[in-house]
């Protein structure tokens, strides 16, 4: 058990070190959502003057945090291909551990990186005067709720990334599928516009969309005033919890091919 934990820690440290050495990944992962927040937030707020949302920039922030988690999980899952192609995965699997331990170490790296990135975006957003978080449950409780949402989302997305990476042979194919599946999910998750004013078919899609529950939970914590959100906090936590544990488990269980 201790040996397995040691191996997982070793893999985690390796992935974190690789992330911090990759300056472009480090900076773009934080600046891109903030840039989008500034451009899209200000553009829609002032240019379109939405009637249903009183502070669009603040409304948009939870969505940008979800997007950060999405990008970082996708990017980190893609390191699976780098490790496979460099032959490192072969070496890792030759260690005296089950495949699950190795995949757990790798996936945990992407989870931790995703959480750190999302929290940096949250911290920077909180410091921007134009963004006025409402902290309806109090700052401490709201931050805890946001962190829980970020952790569950990253577990789910990293597990999903690993699950897809173990089935799709090329990195190009992996990115294509991730973009094709997850971008539409992001658009009707409530990240860019509230779900309650949408046509019924979009509401239905929003309801079966896992990202919607993460966005909802964060909006409850950061944006909402006297509201328990679109789905309600218990349902948000239940759906995200089940998906996070289930998909993460599946992602680290699947037998991995080393063939390119």
């Amino acid at each position: 058990m201790m040996d397995a934990l040691n191996a997982i820690a070793g893999l985690l440290v390796r992935d974190l070190r690789g992330f911090f050495r990759s300056r472009s990944q480090l900076y773009s992962s934080v600046f891109f959502p903030l840039m989008l927040l500034a451009i899209l937030g200000a553009g829609v707020q002032d240019g379109l003057d939405p009637r249903n949302i009183d502070d669009y920039v603040t409304f948009l922030t939870p969505g940008m945090i979800v997007m950060t988690a999405l990008f970082s999980s996708t990017f980190s899952s893609a390191t699976y291909y780098q490790d496979r192609d460099s032959g490192v995965l072969r070496v890792l699997f030759a260690a005296p551990h089950s495949q699950r331990v190795v995949l757990l170490g790798k996936t945990l790296g992407s989870v931790v990186i995703g959480i750190a990135q999302a929290l940096v975006v949250l911290g920077v957003a909180a410091a921007i005067p134009a963004i006025k978080f409402r902290w309806q449950y109090g700052v401490a409780q709201s931050v805890v709720l946001t962190v829980v949402a970020v952790v569950l989302l990253n577990l789910f997305l990293s597990g999903l990334g690993q699950l897809l990476a173990s089935r799709i042979r090329s990195m190009q194919g992996f990115h294509l599928v991730m973009n094709l599946v997850l971008f539409p999910f992001l658009f009707f998750s409530g990240a860019f516009f509230p779900l309650d004013h949408l046509p019924i078919w979009l509401k239905l899609l929003g309801r079966i969309n896992p990202l919607s529950y993460g966005v909802d939970l964060m909006q409850v914590a950061l944006y909402a005033r006297n509201s328990d959100g679109y789905f309600g906090v218990p349902l948000d936590l239940a759906v995200l919890g089940v998906l996070a544990v289930g998909v993460f488990y599946l992602g680290t269980s699947r037998s991995v091919s080393l063939e390119r």
């Binding site: 990759s22 260690a95 551990h97």
Partner: protein
Amino acid sequence: MSTATTILTSSAPTGETAAAVEIRDLVYAYGERRALDGLSLSVPAGAIFGLLGPNGSGKSTLLSMLIGRRKPDGGEVRVLGEALAPKLRARMGIVFQEPSLDPGMTVRETMHLQGRMFGLSRAATGERTSALLERVGLDDRAASMTATLSGGMKRRLELARALLTEPTLLLLDEPTLALDLDSRQNLWQHLLEANAHGTTLLLATNDVHEAERYCHTVTLLDQGRVVAHGTPAELKRGLRDDAVRIDWNGDPAVDAASIASWPGVGTVRVAGQTSHVTVDAASPFLTRLFQEAGGHITGVQIEHSTLEDVYFQLVGKAITRDGAPPEEPA
């Protein structure tokens, strides 16, 4: 303890030794194609044991099975006296045929990750890393990214990484592939040192010279089956002394059947514009050859017969033939 400059030669283990690897009737198939077809062999502890055969003969498949990447379709495998299990890999090391270094890690980080993966303490990893890097001549590159190392240095690092855990059994999947002569010899010095310290080496190769020079015992493989087994000297017993390679200026001017009928000729194989003939003595053979077809010859090369000739005699094809079906590396 030996140093890197000590010249070592390969000497077979003495006395009764237990088997490091024991394989009985092993079967593995890629779809319809059997990569291992009832393979049985026994690798003595402390030996340098060669698996010699062309691409697709089952060597790499066997190694990948020993490290648990593939499950046998049939048969029995015991390594270091135990059935295959992940924990057994703590006593094994492997150098893969293909590069296996993370270009984004330094030499020292590469060693430390291996230490953590194998449950070594930080202190033991640090101590062994320093000693091994010095032994393979990479101590001054410990802080370098692996991407900046030469091909030979990368191979030595991969070997040092495999030796970090002081394995009882070291698997080598064509470890000197694509290395220049100096790097090959250098690598083999380190391998011989490891063997002198008790590590069993199981080498998968299609390099006949390497197998002949370094291995105590060689098993010749063809299509997942054992063709012959013994020391290089035993395998070559009864073989003609010399091997003559003839380069023709077109198709061979004398056909294989005719040459085979000449006195003192053993096997004849033809590949394009080249004929390879084993003979009792090269001189009388060459005299007759030049008499009959001297004008069509562009080059002649004489060498002692090798395991390649043994293989051809037994299987009817060359080990280093072109167009062999590729085998996935271990």
